[in-house]
Symmetry: D2
Subunit: 449 residues, 4 copies
């Protein structure tokens, strides 16, 4: 372990997840020599920042630690000389997510936080903000690691690598962790007894599983999947996959593959929720309101149990673990978003992938996964192309590029309807899409239809 | 030109296209030293073979040629010592095509001869028959070229290369020819004045266009596309593409790209036709009945004008041209389905592509096209993977593989509905799908649902 | 054919090759509507420019043509509005080539115009000059084609593409032409009756040969090679290849492969010539002196027969042919140096290759060659890497890069001796290597040894 | 740790290295639940097997262990139900190695155990024997891991993967270990404090080094290399590399790179040794004779210190470590020869590479290294092609293939001299080259020269 005390900055510090993050740091107090934690938010998030920031302070105090917890709206002051910067911001807050879900559904197409039309708009809103943070980091803390768990985490990571030209970035997601926990349970084993080999893209990866004796257990888990229940993460339906298709795949899908493998079924389920004003975003908004009520209680000095029901469990803990793994050169395996470098043969060398990686003091070193079979290969190559177009549209504000991304996204029905949804979303989110200003004006003037 | 007289065998000789083929040979009588033409069909096609075969004989006689025109149901007798074998068969005849179109549409998904669920079933029915022909060829005419224009022409070509292990195969389609003619007209030029560079897959390719002075005219044609009408081939709707998306593509799409770029719009148009019992297959069946009535007329001694309305114009002429180009080492450019060999960097080296090729006596040499941009790359990589799975399912009869192909095909909504349509099509076509016998029985017994 | 009259500029116009170039234009007078030919040279070449330029004028006049033949030392005046620029310059003239050959040989290593230590130094001297011409062209004739036949033609082409960022460049060599002529003769055929498929790098390519009937004749030519004589080009020894190795290769080597496949034997032959002051450069210098004596004769009005003995026969004719093929959109096949674009799968996508290409008005379109077998693949990948390093060293003047290129060049024995030869050549050529000024000074001061 | 007791078989058990191997097992007695160790040798090695086998028994007894140590000439009896098979055999013993070194040197070319002409002949003799072992393993212990440290370890591993179709194979070498130890010392650090990232081929790899803080120390080590001494392994000269070339490389070379980067200097050093009958093989033969004298001493019950001078220190220990790492799913990093799978982008996907790998119960998972710069890329691609040809020649006995491998090997001067050395080595080793029987007869009859 290194001696120097470290400074950690969390952008979007007013998030409801912050207590899990603080808990994660406290759990690692013996391995992370923290001096300062800076929780940063914007004017619109000031109230939440105060609430959750004060809870964070109570938690740190309760743990008997002398860490400084700073709450600020001044991002640049916070970033100065930081060692690690984590980003957990949500541009436009949950109201924007509600639009990402409801507008596509109102046209009969799937709406989802990170997939389809909604996911692309989350990228359009988020990527320019993250690139702004990266510009500040280059100036104020050029040796800091950026630990991103803002969705869409894979596209954000690729944007930072390609357009931010910043290499010390790692993206994170809780889905691999959830699969590891759930499938270990299925097999009656501890996760440590198994080797999970993940590869793919954020929210679009597969894995294979091996035991200590070297046996591949992938098929055993597939068998279990079609015996027991299928639900892995809180925020995705537990609808069953089709058995023969998964067996043909010869790998384990992730929970999000339901949107692609069971698209039609998922759509019908979501349309039902849409009618009942009960889309995921709407549920989450209610849960968050309750959480902030809890957080206000001055007697609350630990992370409340209810946060685990929020849907992003293990996210913040993963962020703490990657910070500790890099800081301490832990040489453990984590699943992260990082530059491909050939680890996934079928994807471009310079793209971001989500992959089991060996974490060292110099960052993640992806473990070679090799070639996919045709079914996985074709789909992931399409998804990566869609990501590339989406990122480019997010950076440039080019309308044709955005329409192209909509056209090839397998969750968006191609054609006039795609264009209508694109236009409606551009208008709905216009406050957060300065790069698309010209196109939005043309739409409003009826010149782009 | 070589001296030896040649023997040409046409499998599916009873097709309504045969008069165009015969006309094509007659037009090339000075460059093609034909001795025998064998028109082969199966018992079910015997009547049509007689009708069209007799017309063929009248056409040859009218042209003052001494070519022998043989009509036979004995494929092996025909293949013996052939120089060129062309395949234009349709397993299950137009009734099968009607099912390929109507069954998917009855579930609200696009049905089409070569795309989506219907196209995959055409592959399932056709590939085993073609591989059987190839086995006969290896024995009876191992130096003959197989000129395939049976759809799906790209998948058939790849199946012959990979599973038939037969290299002297070339696939053909009339779509590039139609684009070349139409777009030359748009520019007010002769096709010979322009260089059309095509690359992609059968019914899924793009092209760029250059004039003799070396200027790229791709953008000029895009401009024209959004001024004038868009219709290129008889059998595909002329619905307009979305301008900004095509401009972003920076290449010209083919007519079939409408199914992918304007999917939702095309679906609605087809659903209307479905309701009116007027799908393309139903129309074609009516046209063909009329054609055969015409063909019966003993006074008809040339290809009737009405055939040009049939939808496959230039198909058979292309077959004659490739036969002449190979036989005469013509060194001209044609767009054919052939082994990739790196010409399309983004697709597997050993796969079949449809590409502008230099035609020599030793076959087509594809002209390097290079890398696609992200939008084209992602989609074509998905399509190729779908083709690989479809071909493998066609060869093996593996149900999981077929379901996988359905799952990743962008024209099939993934999930339970895909499985229902798969099962319904398997039952509907069971007479032509011996390789799927076991799975079909299970479906019928309610064991696969 | 286009209407506009064209302006052709030849840099290095004082070359002894110029009469072949002029003859080539005259032969094509009906297809090339030439208005002006500008022969450009530098102060040091002024006398030769006058001699050969006047011969050129006599040749044009003798042919009854009204073309203007301008002789000038003002490159920028010449380039203004040019349509085609050909480069046939030799930085440092033949005296530099003598050093390229004799200095390596004095250390017991092969010295050659385009291979080994000498070839790398020719690149070091030439590339900066060509890049200077390209900068002028971007300003003065940005639509002109650069037709380069200055050696090393492949590296020069790659430098123009990568560092000059100029796409309208094509490199040429006479070796493929010589092989085509020689091997057609071996088979008793006309070149037009055969399809020669070449691929590789300049002076490092292989080919396969097919007849009009589609038979591959590669093996037939190998058989002939080991029956008859082996000599293909004037400037390379006719020493026999090793039969079993060539048979294992399953392709035909080029004449220059002797330096790599028969290295030790070639070295011994060259050392003998070195002792006798009869290296190729020394011979050529004598031949050139004789040629210029001939050229002075005011009665000489055609290309003298003796030039054909010079060693570069067909070079200039190829330049004329590529100019005509591009200008007239001839759609013929020529072997040129052009951007790979995947045509040679085993080499980097963006590198220059020498390959059979379809020549259109928009330039050469390489015909896909595909993968090499291991023997060819490994060597050409090494050679390409060496070329990349050499070009980078030529552009940057980086000593370590130059030493690296020497280290991996298979014609240079690695180690201290390589460094000694590198240093000696840097000193010897210092007038033509401004980019290496700092390193040369250090060598002279004994600081780099 | 697993419960079952394990059976380890060592082929070439009579090797002088066996005491290090036994010591390695004894050191790991708490993690390796050994039941039986079988030392296998052939008739010619019987005496050595007895001597070293009895020492092994004394060592085990001295350590207070109940392991059975079997000595046998019956390979199949030994292999039955083995868990791990290690191979440390030397076909033809040290006398063959002496020929591998002296015959090339007698023609003025480098002779070396694993490089150049000698190394290729070691492959020719060894690969068929190893493939025979693999055939036995498939039958008798199909789940056993083959741990190969017979040289050339990389080519042997590739042969087992490609021609043996056996996946549970791992190759080992001590060179990376020696570099890790030496360079850690240079930096005044423990190896555990650093991350060494190796990639390349056996005896032809490079590495980069990072500290726990994430700083790359590669350049620091290069600086040290040119300050202090350069010697890393006993068996390779400590001659200095050229500083500018190594700096340009931006990676650390391995000791064996001297044969390629300093070829000429190494050759002169070896020619001196050749004259003095003091080549490495001759030295080793003397050392081994002394070692066996020591081993005979019934009072010797531990590995004698002198073995550490033998040159292969850490080899056997690495074998014990990989066995333990796989058996115990240790999840540590080791440098092994394994299937590439894209880890080294520039080499064929299915080839064997030597690379830092994460060792699990299901074998090594290579850590992605990515692309090399041009200098490293070109050379390693050539070396891999040479390896492929050598392996194919070893398997098929094809003379042309062997001559091709000689032609492209950068340590063999191409041409007639290569052929002479090839022929002389074929004759010299004919007892161990049954696959080349026909060619050897032709050489002896003067029909191949």
């Amino acid at each position: 372990m290194k001696n120097n005390k470290i400074k950690i900055v969390t952008i979007g510090g007013g998030s409801s997840y912050t207590p899990e993050l603080i808990e994660g740091f406290i759990k690692r107090k013996d391995e992370l020599p923290i001096k300062e934690i800076w929780l940063v938010d914007i004017e619109d998030g000031k109230e939440k920042l105060e609430i959750v920031g004060n809870l964070a302070r109570r938690m740190v105090k309760e743990a008997g630690l002398d860490w400084e917890v700073h709450l600020t709206l001044d991002r640049r002051a916070a970033l100065k000389d930081a060692d690690f910067v984590s980003t957990q911001l949500r541009v436009g807050l949950l109201d924007a997510r509600i639009k990402d879900e409801r507008i596509p559904l109102s046209h009969g197409m799937l709406g989802q936080e990170t997939n389809g039309a909604g996911g692309m708009f989350k990228a359009f809103r988020t990527i320019p903000v993250i690139l702004g943070i990266v510009e500040d980091m280059k100036e104020l803390c050029p040796n800091a690691w950026l630990v991103n768990f803002t969705n869409p985490a894979g596209m954000v990571t690729e944007a930072v690598l390609k357009y931010g030209n910043y290499n010390k970035v790692v993206g994170l997601c809780n889905v691999p962790i959830m699969h590891t926990i759930k499938e270990s349970e299925m097999l009656g084993k501890n996760p440590e007894e198994l080797f999970f080999h993940y590869a793919g893209l954020n929210h679009y990866h597969w894995h294979r599983v091996y035991d200590k004796e070297g046996n591949e257990l992938t098929l055993d888990i597939i068998n279990e999947m079609f015996n027991g229940d299928n639900k892995v993460v809180e925020n995705i339906s537990g609808i069953k996959f089709m058995e023969e298709q998964i067996r043909d795949l010869e790998m384990l899908p992730c929970a999000y593959h339901r949107y692609y493998y069971m698209h039609d079924d998922m759509l019908h389920e979501e349309l039902e929720e849409f009618k009942n004003n009960n889309t995921r975003a709407e549920k989450v908004k209610r849960v968050e309101a309750e959480l902030f009520e809890l957080y206000k209680d001055p007697n609350l000095k630990v992370k409340p149990e209810q946060l685990n029901q929020r849907g992003g469990a293990h996210y913040s803990d993963a962020a703490c673990e990657i910070i500790s793994s890099i800081h301490n050169d832990k040489r453990s395996i984590m699943v992260v978003d990082t530059r491909n470098n050939g680890a996934v043969t079928d994807l471009p060398y310079d793209s971001a992938v989500e992959i089991s990686s060996y974490i060292t003091g110099s960052g993640p070193k992806p473990i070679t996964f090799g070639k996919f079979n045709a079914a996985a290969r074709g789909q992931i190559q399409l998804m990566k192309a869609m990501e590339e177009l989406t990122i480019e549209a997010a950076v440039t504000g080019d309308y044709g590029k955005a329409l192209q991304a909509f056209t090839i996204n397998p969750m968006v029905p191609a054609g006039t309807v795609a264009r209508e949804v694109l236009n409606e979303l551009l208008i709905a989110h216009k406050d957060y899409l300065p790069q698309f200003k010209d196109s939005i004006e043309k739409i409003e003037e009826g010149k782009l239809k």
